[in-house]
């Protein structure tokens, strides 16, 4: 029997993986992918909650979140392109002109 708790644990794991990925991966594209993971973890939670509550609005929210995430990635990719062009790198670590 797969209960709500299972889903939530999975979602938390996904979220943590995403977060860990953001902190460890240098490549901007990978970082964006990890962000996507975080959002999907939230989506999973929404869906699971919606299912367990029997309330459809949670599932509706997921659509919104997906859209937002897509937009997020779009902007992110655009900036990645600018980076590649102007700074000739996609390594997030190397971008640290601004500090202190």
């Amino acid at each position: 029997m797969i209960t709500l708790t299972h889903y939530l644990v999975l979602s938390a794991l996904l979220f943590t993986i995403g977060l860990a990925g953001i902190m460890t991966r240098r490549n901007v594209i990978l970082i964006l992918l990890c962000v996507e993971l975080m959002f999907n973890a939230a989506n999973l939670a929404f869906v699971a909650f919606a299912k367990s509550l029997g309330d459809p609005s949670g599932q509706v929210i997921v659509f919104f979140v997906i859209t937002v995430a897509a937009a997020e990635v779009t902007v992110g990719l655009a900036i990645a392109i600018l980076m590649a062009r102007r700074l000739s790198t996609l390594n997030a670590d190397e971008v640290s002109l601004l500090k202190w």
Binding site: I22, M23, R26, A92, D93, V95, S96, L97, K99, W100
Partner: protein, 622 residues
């Protein structure tokens, strides 16, 4: 009988006319020399006339003394300080001296200072001085006395430093003021103590002489004013006298004060201001009477000053400084007299001293004016070139020595008699001092006025405007002993003591004779004596090292050690460590904190996660 308005007017005019002159001179134009002088002289002659008028009526019996007029200067529920004029025989006598001798000196000054660039400033300060001195004299309470006391100190400062471009003059003025300030520290505390103990009720405290005098017995009886407090208060108040009347060990400023113009020395540093201390002691004799310990201290200080200063005059080559040491010595006599319980004798000597010492100073001024020199070794034979000056100086010197029938003889005799009765040791000190006095006076006379004039000395007699005051003062110096001053003060002179007179005459004769032998006959070489008593000579030439010790204290201890240490503490501990240190720490914190901002985005994400954890932790706490 005169009463009411005319008397009040006379009293107020007596006090305020010089102030009006002092205010008028700068207001009406400092560049108008004649006007300044006329204002100043007028501003002193008018009070002199008032004083004479009051005296006349007193002697006629148509004026009842003491009389008091006053306005309230400070008026609060718990503090009422009047500003008043108290006229009794004592203050009347003193104001006559101040205005009379003062007028002579003012007139003399017009000649002496004729070509000075600070002419009007000089007369402004003289007038202000006259006012301040009269404030001391006529005060009816301690605070008013103190006000005058401080103001004469200021005038003395300004007049000593009249030629402020001369570093010595500027330093001397400063020294005079500061030494007096140190003394006034005690004086002020004494007055405060007196005020605090003048009544058990805060609202009824007073500084009025008459009130205090009447209250004193009951205060002592009730124990509110203990005997110890009275002694302490008396000693503190006497501190003021140490400064103003230049008693040892605070006498050091007076010889230096000779840097000022000579009329100033005559008026302030011989006749009037330095005598203020003695006057104050006499005026408040009732206070000291109750504390014999204080009187004894006073007597000893006076005796010591009389003797030791006279000894200094013996080796001094500067004419004015000789007179200054002489003044110290004579002041010592007066103080001793008061200490021995003879305030009338003290006042008597004060009066005659005012005459002859002013005379001596003015004569010395005339010499300086005529020769531009004041070292007696560079002078000589003035008897011929400056006959009037010499004659008057001679009269003054005789009076100073206590030559029989001259004023100084009578007054000094009074004091010696007193000492003879009360304290044998002081009596002998006084007699020896009389001998020393005769010695240095003769020395000055012989070296400066007799003998051959040195080369390049172009002496000329002074103008009449300077000579007339000299003559007037000579007359007073001669007749000062016959005016019945002690009787006027309410204590007729005692019987004539032949033994005392004989002793002192012997001392005078010895002193004068020795000086004559050494300096006129050259029978004994002065250098030889100096060589024989080298240590003594060194001690005297260096003025007992008082100045050296004080200079060392002021420059090394006070300025460099104490003030310097405070300045260092300020600079390095308070500013450097505490304030700048705190600022530095804050900046350091800023510089440390900005390092958190590494510029790496993944580090920021990590920070964000830490924040979440911190939030969770805090949520658990609250």
């Amino acid at each position: 009988m005169v009463t009411g308005f005319p008397v009040a007017l006379a009293a107020w005019t007596l006090l305020l006319a010089p102030l009006a002159a002092a205010a008028g001179i700068p207001l009406l134009g400092l560049h108008r020399k004649r006007l300044s002088a006329s204002l100043a002289i007028g501003g002193l002659l008018v009070p002199f006339a008032c004083a004479c008028w009051l005296l006349l009526h007193t002697l006629q019996g148509s004026l009842h003394l003491p009389l008091e007029v006053k306005v309230s200067w400070l008026l609060l529920p718990d503090l009422a300080i009047p500003f008043g004029v108290l006229i009794d025989p004592l203050s009347l006598l003193m104001s006559l001296i101040v205005t009379g001798v003062g007028s002579a000196i003012f007139i003399y000054s017009t000649g002496y200072m004729a070509h000075d660039s600070g002419y009007s400033r000089y007369f402004t300060m003289l007038s202000l001085f006259a006012f301040s001195m009269l404030t001391i004299v006529l005060a009816n309470n301690w605070l008013e006395l103190f006000i005058g006391w401080e103001l004469v100190g200021f005038c003395s400062y300004a007049l000593i430093g009249h030629w402020f471009e001369k570093p010595q003059a500027a330093d001397a003025g400063k020294k005079a003021f500061l030494v007096n300030r140190v003394a006034d520290f005690g004086f002020m505390l004494g007055i405060l103590a007196l005020w605090a103990h003048s009544s058990p009720l805060a609202a009824e405290r007073t500084l009025n002489y008459q009130l205090l005098q009447t209250r004193l017995p009951s205060l002592l009886q009730s124990g509110w004013l203990s005997h110890e407090t009275l002694v302490l208060t008396g000693l503190l108040i006497f501190c003021g006298v140490l400064g103003k009347s230049a008693q040892m060990p605070l006498h050091v400023w007076l010889p230096d004060a000779m840097e000022g113009p000579t009329p100033v020395s005559a008026l302030i540093h011989a006749a009037t201001m330095v005598a203020a201390g003695v006057y104050m002691l006499c005026r408040n004799f009732w206070l000291f009477q109750g504390a014999p310990a204080v009187l004894e201290t006073i007597a000893w200080v006076g005796g010591a000053t009389a003797f030791f200063s006279a000894a200094l005059a013996v080796v001094e080559p500067d004419l004015k400084r000789i007179l200054a040491y002489s003044t110290l010595s004579q002041l010592g006599y007066m103080v001793m007299a008061v200490g021995l319980g003879g305030h009338v004798a003290g006042m008597y000597h004060l009066t005659t001293h005012a005459f002859f010492k002013a005379l001596l100073f003015l004569a010395a001024g005339s010499v300086i004016h005529g020769t531009r020199r004041q070292n007696i070794r560079e002078l000589g034979g003035l008897r011929r070139s400056m006959p009037w000056t010499s004659a008057t100086f001679f009269i003054g010197a005789l009076a100073l020595c206590g030559f029989p029938a001259l004023s100084g003889f009578f007054s000094k005799d009074e004091i010696l008699v007193l000492a003879h009765e009360h304290n044998a040791l002081l009596y002998w000190i006084g007699s020896v001092t009389a001998g020393l006095t005769a010695f240095y006076a003769t020395r000055a006379w012989c070296v400066a006025f007799l003998g051959q004039a040195p080369e390049h000395l172009h002496a000329h007699e002074s103008p009449p405007v300077m000579l007339i005051p000299l003559v007037l003062l000579s007359v007073l110096s001669i007749v000062g002993g016959y005016l019945g001053i002690p009787a006027f003060l309410g204590e007729p002179a005692g019987a004539f003591h032949w033994d005392v007179a004989a002793t002192s005459l012997a001392a005078i004769a010895t002193g004068a004779g020795l000086a004559w032998l050494i300096y006129r006959r050259k029978a004994i070489a002065a250098e030889a004596i100096a060589r024989r008593c080298a240590w003594l000579h060194r001690l005297l030439v260096n003025r007992y090292f008082f100045d050296d010790v004080y200079t060392w204290y002021v420059e090394q201890v006070q300025q460099r050690l104490i003030a310097g240490a405070c300045a260092l503490f300020e600079r390095f501990i308070i500013i450097g460590l505490a304030v700048n240190g705190l600022a530095w720490l804050t900046q350091l914190a800023g510089r440390a904190i900005r390092r958190v901002q590494t510029g790496r985005v993944q580090g920021y994400v990590l920070g964000f996660c830490c924040g979440i954890i911190a939030l969770l932790y805090l949520a658990g706490r609250f």
